[in-house]
């Protein structure tokens, strides 16, 4: 691989490592085993949401509803558990509900011909959040069974259970996107929907699937968060749609579609988690954290733009 290609491939990862080095020199607590485990645990929910968001963004779409679907799934799974549904069943039901809500986004987009994914997912963002509040009257539903809490608060040896969930989802999504026809269709739709349609890709069906997947990862995030907080709370995931979009973009995906990897997205989520954690350890206020993350989003995309322009110039010189 040429140096330019290497940089493109591993740019976000290099950024993450550099960031860790800087934070390690600034805080004695940062590069400790306990803290790194801590960062992984704190990044798990955003990583899960970002995987779904990645698949959507690859199709040149956007899913604003992931935070709200997380909130609604969080309340519903807690209600199911309180009603005595066995934890394993409640988890499956929550994933199903998330998938169903997501596929509604896809159906609205493709069957009602709403002009841009922004619209159906903005609608769903409000509907799902509202329903979450209505269903539980605004109250958190707490004290969940410990076998359910495992997914958010438990661990296997020293590996936190949420990290295992993230790894499993990453592997599945990576294989799905790179090794299956459907996955390649999704990239094709993002690259050029017209061409994809003409070459026989069932675009509508793929888009519905994409938004359903995003709903499923949101529900997975809900299961982890509810376990972590021992509570199904209606405000869960408030604003997290923007964090997931940020992680995907920092991870090198393009808003124009057709570009983006699972590895990059995971690194993007970790960069955000590491930044927040490092700044927390240094007692930097949440307001400054917001500023820094904003700067990082713009900087990450700008690096990408600079790289592309340099590559284009290189090509022009050769021709």
């Amino acid at each position: 691989m040429s140096p330019a290609a290497l940089l493109r491939r591993f740019g976000p990862l290099l950024g993450l490592l550099a960031l860790c080095a800087v934070l390690g020199t600034l805080s004695d607590h940062f590069l400790t085993f306990d803290n790194l485990i801590n960062v992984f645990r704190q990044s798990a929910v955003n990583a899960l949401l970002s995987l779904g968001q990645l698949v959507v963004i690859i199709t040149a779409g956007i899913d604003l509803s992931v935070g709200s679907i997380l909130g609604l799934s969080c309340v519903l799974v807690a209600l199911l558990l309180k009603a005595g549904v066995p934890p394993a069943l409640a988890v499956l039901a929550a994933l199903g509900i998330g998938g169903a809500l997501g596929s509604v986004n896809g159906l609205l987009l493709t069957k009602l011909h709403l002009p841009h994914p922004f619209i159906p997912t903005l609608g769903m963002m409000n509907v799902a959040r509202g329903l979450a509040l209505v269903i539980c009257g605004g109250f958190p539903i707490s004290e969940l069974p410990s076998s359910f809490r495992f997914w958010g608060a438990g661990s296997v040896g020293w590996i936190p259970a949420p990290v295992i969930v993230v790894v499993v989802f990453c592997v599945v999504f990576h294989v799905f996107l790179t090794r299956t026809t459907v996955g390649r269709d999704i990239y094709a739709i993002g690259g050029n929907p017209q061409a994809a349609l003409l070459s026989g890709v069932p675009v509508d069906a793929r888009l519905i699937l994409v938004y359903a997947l995003s709903g499923v990862t949101a529900a997975a995030g809900a299961i982890v968060l509810a376990g972590r907080m021992n509570s199904g709370f209606p405000l869960a995931g408030m604003g997290s749609e923007l964090d997931s979009i940020a992680a995907v973009i920092i991870g090198g995906a393009s808003f124009f579609g057709g570009v983006g990897t699972v590895g990059g997205t995971l690194v993007g989520a970790l960069i955000m988690g590491v930044l927040r954690n490092g700044l927390n350890l240094m007692n930097v206020s949440a307001y400054w954290q917001t500023v820094v993350i904003g700067v990082v989003i713009v900087a990450a995309v700008w690096v990408d733009v600079v790289r592309k322009r340099a590559a284009e110039k290189g090509r022009a010189a050769v021709n």
Binding site: A18, V22, T32, N38, P140, F233, M282, A286, Y287, W288
Partner: protein, 313 residues
Amino acid sequence: MGTRKHWWMAMALGAAVLAAGACSRGAKSRKLEIVLVTKALDSEFWQRIKSGAEEAARADPGVSLAVLAPAQEINIDQQVSILEDQILKRVSALAVSPAGVAEIVPVLDKARAAGIPVVIVDTDVRWPYQTSFVGIDNRLGGRIAGEYILKAIGGKGKVAVIRGVLGVATQEDRLTGFREAIANSPGVELVAVQPANSERALGMQVMENMLTSHPDVKAVFGTNDQMALGAKEALEAHHLTGKIVLVGFDATREALRAIQAGAMNAVMAQYPERIGKRAIEEAIKAARGLPVEKRIDIGTALVTKDNVSQFLK
């Protein structure tokens, strides 16, 4: 050309992070590290809690204090992350005002496992291991507000409540107290209890809607000042100032001035500086292994036009 720019980028970013770190990195010594984590810092109430806390820390040269909070009161999971990170640092003691009373419990358990004493501030939680609770009796405050309204409207008519985030103990307690106060007055009807998330803009909107749905409402209780001040704006816009009894909770400067000007009728006073100060004093005691009081009621008082001047000093 590209690589050079990358270096600039990396350096700028590094400098920003370094600067941010340098601002906040206090002297490293064997000082007691006390950390206060509030629900937010975006209102006068929390800022005054913070200044009281800082006063307590200044009084003790052996103590370094950090005050942290999520960006908004609704960012419960961000508050949990902040606490986890402080627990990891093995700080000497924590003072916490929980953004979510149920959601906070697992992370409090982690503090306990790490042997860090926890003082609960302002909003009580059902967690038996708290070192101390410092705050006010919100139910009593709600009841006093209700009794005042009862008297102001002559014991009959429609009343309404604009309340903060559902499920938060302080808010529930104020409402419970208010309901108790009006329970024995059959002439009084509670026509609406609408949430406005303790925000001013939402408070105004909710008040406007109430004026449409219940034009004959005689009194409104805003369970914090931001919402009451929002309601005040709505009343002013509809030229109803003084015609509808309006009561707030917290006694922020702005609300006190509104009472002085006759735009609001009353407010339940909290003494946030005292709450913050006392919380940190107890946290310091706990960190030193000294005995602490389990429950500290800072007290509340009714402020009306008659006594507002002494609160505005």
